[in-house]
């Protein structure tokens, strides 16, 4: 049966809560309302109010309490209603959760998952559109994932819940209902730290993740058809730790790399990827690594301005053509 990205997340929560009674869900309006986007719908009915907990609007507390419970061996899955509000919990994530194991000389763990709906393209303006992953991808102790498909949404969440480290799980709001696929019947997990080749190609590579994966695939199809240019598409899936091998392999294979993300250009993870390739695969390059990302500005409310700020299929096609011609 076809399952949406949103339903896949919901399935993962159901399955993991059934599997392990230490798993519980906590956040604003996650229980009775089933979350602002209905991601946690049905959990309250299935697992009761001890394990599906509505909290006050207190992001720092939601994460901090998650850390406390995790130290004692619980496996909290806490929700930031929008990833934009994760900044209210920043201290608890980067100072409490990320350093916990290190501070305890490796003798404690913090198996916490922080779910954060991210992404623009729904006219949410400045504080309901952010892609804050790069604030976290430089924090040792954290893992950061950003699935693009229903399969990965489910498999990565299950892996995140089982992981003994704090994992920040970015789910893209625009994908919730727009992306769907058949999921296998049985149990599966997508390992953290492993990228996925979405499409093999010979001429160019695109490295991307999350909200822009589908735009990149559309652009690749256009290049294949109209330009006879064969594009390889690597979906990172995990942003911390990066799958260096997969990144360097595709760079070496095609010699021309475009990095695409919906996060802003400056300080986005594209810079790290470009540096990795420059350091370790320079000899294989036929062109400088290019980046296409959101403009370095805030996300405007005005729909035409928002469109102008964000990457889209047309912009990716243009960037690919320019790189192909290099």
């Amino acid at each position: 049966m076809e399952v949406t990205y949103l339903a896949a997340i919901n399935q993962a929560l159901h399955e993991e809560m059934r599997r392990d009674e230490n798993v519980f869900v906590m956040g604003e309006d996650v229980a009775e309302l089933g979350g602002a986007f209905k991601v946690t719908e049905g959990l309250l009915e299935a697992f009761g109010e001890d394990r599906v907990i509505d909290t006050p609007i207190s992001e720092a507390l939601i994460v901090g309490a998650g850390v406390g419970a995790a130290v004692l061996g619980m496996r909290p899955v806490v929700e930031m209603q929008f990833s934009d509000f994760i900044s209210c919990a920043f201290d608890q994530i980067v100072n409490s959760a990320a350093t916990l194991r290190y501070r305890h000389g490796g003798r404690a763990a913090c198996p916490l998952v922080i779910r954060a709906p991210s992404g623009a393209g729904i006219h949410g303006a400045l504080f309901h559109s952010q892609n804050p992953e790069a604030w976290f991808t430089r924090v040792p102790g954290l893992k950061v994932v950003a699935p693009a498909t229903a399969y990965d949404a489910k498999g990565l969440l299950k892996a995140a819940i089982r992981d003994n480290n704090p994992v920040v799980y970015f789910e893209h709001k625009r994908l919730y209902r727009s992306v769907r696929e058949d999921l296998p019947e049985g149990e599966f997990v997508v390992p953290i730290g492993v990228a996925e080749l979405r499409q093999e190609g010979r001429d160019l590579s695109v490295i991307t993740y999350g909200g822009t994966v589908h735009q990149v695939l559309d652009a690749a199809r256009i290049l294949d058809k109209e330009d006879k240019v064969s594009v390889e598409v690597l979906d990172l899936r995990t942003l911390l730790p990066l799958d260096r091998e997969a990144i360097l392999a595709t760079a070496r294979k095609t010699g021309k790399v475009l990095v695409v993300h919906e996060d802003r250009l400056t300080g986005g993870i594209g810079g790290e990827i470009a540096a990795l390739i420059a350091e370790h695969a320079f000899d294989a390059l036929d062109a400088p690594v290019r980046r296409l990302a959101a403009l370095d500005t805030h996300t405007a409310f005005s729909p035409p301005l928002e469109e102008y700020i964000l990457p889209n299929t047309n912009k990716i096609v243009e960037a690919l053509r320019s790189l192909a011609a290099y």
Binding site: T55, P56, I57, T297, A300, S302
Partner: protein
């Protein structure tokens, strides 16, 4: 009971106001209601997009409180701020155009419904981060006090903001430093789908004033005169240098949390009970009863307001989209401050 005392205070407010002032309160409330009704209509027709939170039902809070301020006083608000912004004197054209995302909007189309802002009007912004406005209000108060200016800062926030650290940090500091801030909590019983009693250990929200050593009152937020009088007193205190106050205005949002919320977590019966307490109908009845206005005057107000709202929509529709090259110009101040004068 605190509310009983406030009833008498409201009567007193009525006596101190002349007919022009009183009809103006009515006009402002009707303006906000019609504005919100029109906004809902435009939203369902796809003219307005994004997240949009309406203020219908709560008009008495913004109008009563802001009427008790001087034009030069400051207002800080939330994402449910169309009402506060209009009550502070923003042109309905500029607010509607903002909701449409147009260049003529109050934030030039860059902010939308949740981020109205006009420093000239001393409307210091809607804050889409719950609790986000409170520290800013403290900072405005700090600057006012530092410069020995006579203004006060009026900060609106929902019941949902109380569990945020920002609420407690701001009340503590405002009290400690005797900052001229009036904190107004709009208790509409819900933060999205969560009831106050499921989010806050102390349901009588005005009691949070006590640990922070400031006066706290609960007023009927469906009665514009009660809100007015309570704010007059709190603002006078702030202006005297005696520090902040906390006003809890008990109110009700007539619609769901946002345009996409069918409000299934509350009963239709509960909604009807509150609709009977509609602040606009209450004031209308009172004005006619006390012969402070006649039917004719009030109908004229309503007709005038309707025309203003129609004009605002027309203006918003006809306005241009923001130019793409405005993007780069709005992020930084271009003058970096190092130029020699």
């Amino acid at each position: 009971m605190a509310l009983e005392r406030e009833k008498h205070i409201a009567e007193r407010a009525l006596l101190t106001m002349d007919d022009v002032q009183i009809i103006d309160l009515y006009r402002r409330m009707v303006l906000i209601r019609r504005f919100e009704e029109k906004t809902a209509e435009m939203y369902s027709r796809g003219k307005i997009t994004g997240f949009c939170h309406l203020y219908a039902g709560e008009e008495a809070v913004a109008v009563g409180a802001i009427a008790a301020l001087y034009d030069k006083d400051y207002v800080v608000s939330t994402y449910r701020e169309h009402g506060h912004c209009l009550a502070k004197g923003a042109a309905p054209r500029a607010v509607m155009a903002e909701l449409f995302g147009k260049a003529t909007g109050i934030s030039r189309g860059h902010g939308g419904s949740m981020h109205l802002f006009d420093a000239n009007l001393r409307f210091m912004g809607g804050y889409a981060i719950v609790g986000g406005g409170l520290p800013i209000a403290a900072g405005l108060g700090l600057a006012v006090k530092y410069r020995e200016e006579p203004e006060v800062v009026c900060c609106f926030f929902g019941d949902g903001a109380l569990p945020q650290g920002a609420f407690h940090e701001s009340l503590n500091l405002a009290s400690l430093w005797k900052l001229p801030v009036v904190f107004i909590c709009e208790n509409n019983f819900y933060g999205m789908g969560t009831m106050v009693q499921n989010a806050i250990c102390q349901e009588e929200l005005y009691r949070f004033a006590e640990p922070y050593k400031m006066p706290g009152v609960r007023v009927d937020g469906m009665n514009v005169l009660e809100v007015y009088q309570a704010t007059v007193e709190a603002a006078a205190r702030a202006r005297e240098g005696d520090g902040p106050s906390l006003i809890e205005a008990v109110t009700y949002r007539f619609r769901g949390h946002s345009m996409s919320d069918p409000a299934e977590y509350r009963s239709r019966r509960e909604e009807r009970i509150w609709q009977e307490r509609d602040p606009i109908k209450q004031l209308r009845r009172k004005l006619l009863q006390d012969r402070r206005a006649d039917e004719n005057q009030l109908t004229t107000v309503e007709t005038e307001v309707n025309a203003i709202i129609e004009d605002a929509v027309r203006f918003a529709e006809e306005s241009p989209e923001p130019a793409l090259d405005t993007l780069g110009k709005l992020v930084y101040v271009e003058d970096d401050g190092t130029a020699q004068s």
